[in-house]
């Protein structure tokens, strides 16, 4: 575990220092136990303790700063006890930079039959032998303590934003009750940073209550959860904007499950710092390359005889460009160039225009006259 002892950095496991701003957007240095990161940053998903097919050298070369590991999968194989016995996930993978683990709750709900959420925790059928099992907030934190990542996530009651009704309110309040259980169960607060997750669906009142509740607990960082699940983009950016406005300035904001390069640019303009998504790794498996203009479907017949190189813009590089453009005071120009490349005809989606207005970034040069 590496401690950074620059004179102005206190000895806590997380420290955020903002280096540059443009309105709500910020570029910062995020000091974690294993690595000194630059934000905005993107975390590729390394589900089972590896980013598919890439060696650690290759990951370092492309500028990867934090990798996300899935608690559910790792607890299954090789088990958190084994990882702990062998010195933690960093040592197990030989990954010298930072790691983040999720709580395991989301995988359970999305992957398993008969998963159900009660006040106790998430009940599910063991995928190994079918026996009923229970993942409580306490158990989730214990597993994550054993795995040893720099950032660990609270177990939250996550509902899709496409659901309506009282379930959303129930989930939000339960998330607040569970954060206290997570905090109590956390055995390594000096080495691992517990992030709370803001829930509340698309309801601004619920979101506000949740933000206040979490901020009261003075956590090292905050995630905006429950999005990136199929809701319309106009609702999506509004929730992000509301949360980033209300969350403390000196703590990182992590929008979970985001995503597409365009979403990352918009959320960064609105003041978010961290992102994760399976999108780049998953889409690569299907033969799709991410390029500044959008995507290239490499498996298509049209590509069979195309001898030009791909022009890669991987998510890690996007976030690096975001960071440097904010620090160097040219963020609006960067955003405009980004949008012009992606929408050469000027057909920037309306939700992006609305979001940029709130973010205080003038993108009129990229947009043709929008229909009202």
């Amino acid at each position: 575990m590496a401690w950074f002892s620059a004179c102005s950095i206190p000895a806590v496991p997380l420290f955020l220092q903002v280096l540059g701003r443009f309105n709500r957007a910020r570029a910062a240095q995020l000091t974690l136990p294993h690595y000194l990161c630059q934000t905005p940053l993107f975390m590729p998903v390394g589900t089972q303790g590896t980013i598919k097919g890439l060696t650690k050298n290759q990951l370092e070369e492309i500028g990867c700063q934090i990798i996300l590991g899935n608690t559910y999968h790792l607890a299954l194989r090789p088990t958190s006890e084994l990882i702990d016995e062998l010195g933690g996930l960093h040592k197990f993978m030989n990954w010298p930079r930072a790691l983040l683990t999720d709580s395991g709750g989301f995988q359970m709900v999305s992957l398993l039959h008969l998963a159900d959420i009660t006040e106790k925790g998430v009940t599910f059928q063991s995928p190994v032998d079918g026996k009923p099992m229970l993942l409580t907030p306490e158990e989730s934190i214990q597993i994550q303590n054993r795995i040893g990542a720099d950032i660990i996530m609270a177990l939250d009651d996550v509902v899709r934003t496409t659901i309506t009704g009282p379930r959303i309110e129930e989930a939000m309040y339960r998330t607040l009750r569970w954060i206290d259980r997570c905090i109590a169960a956390h055995k390594r607060p000096n080495e691992q940073n517990l992030f709370g997750i803001v829930q509340g669906g698309l309801d601004p009142v619920l979101r506000d209550i949740c933000v206040r509740g979490l901020v009261e607990r003075n956590l090292p960082g905050y995630a905006i959860g429950g999005l990136a699940g199929g809701e319309d983009k106009d609702s999506f950016w509004r929730v992000v904007a509301q949360c980033t406005a209300a969350l403390p300035e000196d703590k990182p904001r992590y929008v979970m499950g985001v995503g597409y390069p365009l979403d990352i640019v918009v959320c960064s303009a609105l003041g978010a710092d961290m992102y994760d998504c399976v999108y780049p790794t998953r889409t690569a498996r299907f033969g799709t390359a991410l390029v500044p203009e959008g995507v290239l479907k490499l498996k298509h017949q049209a590509m069979a005889n195309d001898i030009r190189p791909i022009d890669p813009m991987c998510e890690c590089m996007l976030s690096r460009d975001l960071h440097s453009s904010i620090v160097e005071g040219r963020f609006p120009e960067f955003v405009c160039k980004f949008l012009q490349t992606m929408f050469p005809k000027g057909d920037v989606p309306e939700w992006v225009c609305n979001a940029m207005e709130v973010a205080g970034i003038d993108i009129s040069s990229c947009c043709h006259e929008m229909k009202v």
Binding site: Q48, T50, L82
Partner: protein
């Protein structure tokens, strides 16, 4: 292309040079001596002595098979500029060989007078000499092997004779179709008949080729009968021309080939090991003691390989081989590899292939050094005996 061999009978160490692919259009550029090693399955290894004792980045020889290029047209490969460009491996040397021991095994039943038949994942493929030459010319390899009619050991004498006749005819076809003056290895077959092997080798030796490719091995013959068949071929070939054989991959088979005068090998041994999760573990360092004996290790019965999927490695925090300086052993533990294999992650095979390749290359390096020091027979004996001891120990411990 030139070759210089040291005047040692039987197994020989030498140096094989190819013109740098960049200098093909400028024949006055100095030739770059190449030290061959493997790269990617299937690959090519050599028993040539190294150009320098330091671990210089060796050029690698890669067989490339027309069948693995299904889906990409020869025209496109040509437009890109050939294999070196397409794979972005400019420092490497490519050989085009018709047989792919993984995905395009020769189908001797379907081969006919028009062309050679191969069983591929996309179905059966019949390729004629003219098509073959066209494909090869689009790939622009450094050298290529003429189309052959390979048959396994158990075919009838008549079929075997036909395969030799056909192979010679196709060799002449390929030579006459070769407009670009590229480097060609003549193919020699003959199955399991000493006479036919003699005949084919003698005939090919009379042709204007730059080296010899020996086919029809690794198709079911036994190791015992193979030794005589190999020497039946190599005895008829000029000393100063390279001999390349496909399909011999086990270390003992390689040693057998080297003893018979073979210089270049390609095999799928490492590929299959990696698929099964096996890691090569036989130690490669020479005994540093002052006795002249060639020993592979001083630990008595050494084993060749381990299976990383085995549960005993779940918590093993040591590298595959302690003294190995491949990327995998320098960075990762058996425990991590065991986990990756168990969860079917791609990285498992990437890392294991790196290690196995490194080990196997090291084996060839040891062979070359042994030859240079005039101790090859001893080296071979020690190796084979230590294997026997280990197998005996394993059997008697049951």
């Amino acid at each position: 292309m030139e070759q210089r061999k040291s005047p040692v009978r039987g197994s020989a160490a030498g140096q094989l040079s190819f013109p740098n692919s960049d200098s093909r259009s400028a024949p006055h550029n100095p030739q770059r001596p190449a030290r061959f090693h493997l790269s990617g399955p299937p690959y090519l290894l050599s028993s040539f002595s190294g150009f320098s004792p330091a671990p210089v980045q060796p050029a690698s020889l890669l067989p490339c098979f027309f069948s693995s290029l299904e889906g990409i047209s020869p025209k496109t490969i040509s437009n890109i500029g050939g294999l070196h460009q397409m794979l972005s491996l400019h420092q490497h040397i490519f050989a085009a060989v018709p047989r792919d021991s993984i995905i395009a095994l020769p189908e001797h039943d379907s081969t006919n007078k028009y062309g050679a038949s191969f069983q591929t994942p996309g179905g059966r493929l019949l390729i004629k000499p003219a098509e073959y030459v066209e494909l090869v010319s689009s790939m622009k390899p450094d050298f290529w092997v003429t189309l052959a009619d390979e048959v396994p050991a158990w075919v009838s004498d008549k079929r075997n004779r036909t395969s030799v006749d056909r192979t010679l005819r196709w060799l002449d076809d390929c030579l006459s179709l070769n407009k670009t003056g590229t480097t060609i290895f003549g193919s020699i077959v003959g199955g399991s008949s000493i006479e036919e092997r003699h005949r084919c080798a003698q005939e090919v030796a009379q042709r204007n080729v730059s080296g010899y490719w020996i086919g029809g091995f690794g198709l079911g013959e036994s190791m015992d009968e193979r030794a005589a068949l190999l020497t039946a071929v190599t005895d008829n070939l000029p000393e100063d021309m390279p001999r390349h054989v496909s399909g011999l991959g086990l270390p003992e088979e390689v040693l057998q080939g080297v003893a018979a005068g073979i210089d270049l090998f390609d095999s799928t041994y490492v590929y299959h090991l990696t698929l099964g999760g096996f890691a090569l573990t036989f130690p490669l360092e020479r005994n540093k003691g002052d006795n002249a004996d060639y020993q592979l290790s001083d630990s008595g019965g050494d084993d060749m390989k381990i299976n990383l999927k085995a549960t005993i490695y779940r918590k093993d925090t040591s590298p595959i081989v302690e003294s190995c300086n491949c990327f995998t052993c320098q960075n990762h533990t058996k425990a991590y590899l065991n986990h990756l294999f168990n969860v079917h992650e791609m990285l498992a095979q990437t890392l294991l292939e790196i290690h196995n390749t490194h080990q196997y290359l090291g084996f060839f390096c040891s062979i070359r050094k042994a030859i240079e020091e005039g101790k090859f027979e001893q080296f071979r004996r020690n190796f084979v005996e230590s294997r026997r001891e280990c197998l005996f120990a394993a059997a008697s411990s049951d």
